[in-house]
């Protein structure tokens, strides 16, 4: 694996730490300017998806001076995560924790934060509220706008005018991505439709492959997804000759010819910000969110198949986005049952709270939320 050089270093460090531990026992004056940060992932950290996007952020911290990074993968959203956090605190002196899976927060992060007031907890997902412990907090990214840009590229690429979307669950965040992707494509050609298939859960490789094949059989020639690990999806779609837009992190290495672009997290921005503040001894913000403008989210570099026209239009829109205040969801907008969901003249930029309870699929999406 790619981590070999790191293994030996970590082994030596931990081995010597183990030997020295009984002798020294917390006598470390140099520790003042150092920080141990712990990362917890719900799946494997090399999943080409959600967990890898966080592991890439963790890797950025490893490169910083004075920071020790701890990582644990495959930790379920149960009491296991409490024990992982406590173990990092009690056995490895972690003082800043990043439990990255959405389902970790309530009740696990909240309760553990209350038990360890001296440790800082920052959770990915945007769930922190004023009533929660002050040493806890949330960060999240507005990735829908990046999906909109992917949609523009997909809209240029499709010949059949049919796009495919393999999604996990019909929850607001996923619906936002499906809608944004579709609206991006429809901005190129209003005739384009997106067929969506929900697999029911975040990691269902077999169902994801079946859904991908089914979408291609129905004529979709450009596809994207929202599942924890897009690896199977990308390989299946590219194997059938379809084009793909990625999600979470870049899957270009899996399908260099068929990968168009993708909506990626850029967690290193967030993790570095927290770590620098913690190293400097300052207070950490409780609630941070950002999108493309703030560098929380990024788009994958264009693949070789992306046309000049697609690049130009996408770059133009992206420049517009980077000015701030861009709204993907704006009126007049109908859902796919014909009901008006946004009135004419109304626009919701990515920061709008209304978007966080989204329960509809826009016109042009073939599929149902239930």
């Amino acid at each position: 694996m790619t981590m070999l050089p790191l293994n030996r270093r970590r082994l030596l460090i931990s081995g010597s730490a183990l030997l020295a531990a009984p002798l020294l026992m917390r006598v470390s004056p140099a520790a003042a300017a150092s920080l141990t940060a712990g990362f917890i992932y719900v799946g494997p950290r090399d999943d080409f998806g959600y967990n890898q996007s966080h592991a890439e952020g963790a890797a950025a911290l490893k490169a910083m001076d004075g920071i020790t990074v701890l990582e644990e993968e495959n930790v379920p959203e149960s009491n296991d995560v409490v024990k992982s956090m406590e173990s990092m605190i009690q056995l490895d002196d972690a003082s800043l924790l990043f439990p990255t899976s959405f389902g970790y927060y309530n009740p696990f992060v909240k309760e553990t934060a209350a038990d360890y007031p001296d440790v800082q907890f920052r959770h990915c997902g945007g769930l922190w509220s004023e009533a929660d412990p002050k040493n806890a907090g949330s960060y999240f990214g507005y990735i829908g706008t990046a999906q909109y840009l992917s949609g523009i590229v997909a809209g240029h690429q499709t010949k059949s005018k049919r796009l495919g979307f393999v999604a996990a669950k019909p929850i607001p965040q996923v619906l936002m991505n499906i809608n944004a992707f579709t609206l991006g494509a429809k901005s190129v050609d209003p005739e384009i439709t997106t067929q969506v298939i929900f697999t029911g859960d975040w990691a269902q490789p077999v169902k994801e492959a079946e859904a991908t094949n089914a979408l291609i059989d129905q004529g979709a020639d450009v596809l994207t997804c929202h599942v924890d690990s897009p690896k199977v999806f990308v390989q299946t779609a590219a194997g059938r000759g379809a084009f793909v837009c990625g999600y979470h992190t870049s899957q270009a290495p899996l399908a260099p010819e068929h990968y168009l672009t993708g909506a990626e997290w850029n967690w290193s921005t967030v993790y570095k910000m927290f770590a620098e503040k913690a190293l400097a001894g300052g207070a950490l913000p409780n609630f941070v969110r950002g999108g493309l403008v703030e560098g929380f989210v990024k788009t994958s570099p264009y693949g070789p198949a992306v046309s000049e026209a697609a690049r130009n239009q996408t770059d133009t829109v992206k420049a517009e986005v980077m000015k701030g205040g861009f709204a993907v969801i704006k009126g007049p907008l109908k859902d796919n049952k014909g009901n008006e969901v946004v009135a004419a003249g109304k626009a919701y930029p990515e920061t709008a709270v209304e978007l966080e309870s989204m329960d509809y699929l826009v016109e042009g999406v073939l599929g149902s939320t239930s």
Partner: protein
Amino acid sequence: MSETQAFVRPTPIGAALSKGAGESARRRLEAVLIPILALLAGLFAFGLFLLAIGKSPVEFYQLVYRGGFGTWFSLQNTMQRAAPLLLTALCVALPAQLGLVVIGGEGAFVLGGLAAAAIGAAMPDAPGLIGMPVMALAGLCAGGVWIGAVGALRHYRGVNETIASLLMAYIAIAFMQHVVEGPLRDPASLNKPSTTPLADQLRIGEIPGMDVHWGFVVGILACLVAGFVLSRTTFGFSARIAGGNARAAAVQGLPVGRLILTFTFAAGAAAGLAGMIEVAAIHGTANASLIAGYGYTGILIAFLARQNPIAIIPMALIIGGIGAAGGLVQRRMDLPDATVLVLQGILFVAILVSETLSGRLLPALGLKTTGEAK
């Protein structure tokens, strides 16, 4: 050694069936020695695996000890992890007495949790002393009916219980997901569909002075009761007769069908109760996080314990401890999480292979085991 004795299971239970106190003592000794030797052999084999990938087995086992058992924190971590496993292992071990291999405890676990959460959410004002027993009953019944149905399919229709229970676990999980995302969804659970959270008085607390919830005590008690019933009552005795030869048991007038239904119901009830405890002590609501594989880990533990309810207790603690140490091993040695699965797999195979030593180990060591040798 005679043929009939070779078929007597060399567990303490089996030992009671054999003639002579000396024989019984030797069999007891063997019943303890064989698993211990198998565990040691498994640990040794895993050490070779670690050496092969360039890691230090000594460091690994030191970390497992430290992370699972070496500190008060680690020990509590281990007990907490063992809590659901005690009950899901019973879901395998109880039907095993009748010769049934039930591997679908995950389904009963999930449904037990769902039933408890649904009932609990429906009575937010009930006092804990009433609400919690009702929730426990709901969990017991939901799990019991599910695995009991597997027993009924087996008895009345001759459907293979292993396959049926596994497939029904998939149905149970899909059903739970559907209910949680549909009819019983708390509208406030936007991005993580869940049932309405339980009221505070319906939550199971921790054992005073410890960071371990009461489910651990319930699990230990359940194992002890199951062990007692199996080894000290005529009911348990008749179950083991039926497990040895169902047709012969029926000829003797034993109610084989009723035994199968009772044991599968009790098995599912154990897993369902584990689900209820998981909801009431840990999650406070039913959602997809319930599907954490406790039902499947229970299979491993039951086989490690050779289907003996009492032996489930130490085995659940060992597997819980390995799980508790898993994080420390990942962090300190930079090993992937799957390392712990490899260890569990090697231990599993070692225990299964060691079954073939039953009745042969002591003779091989120069000790006679036959009753005539006295």
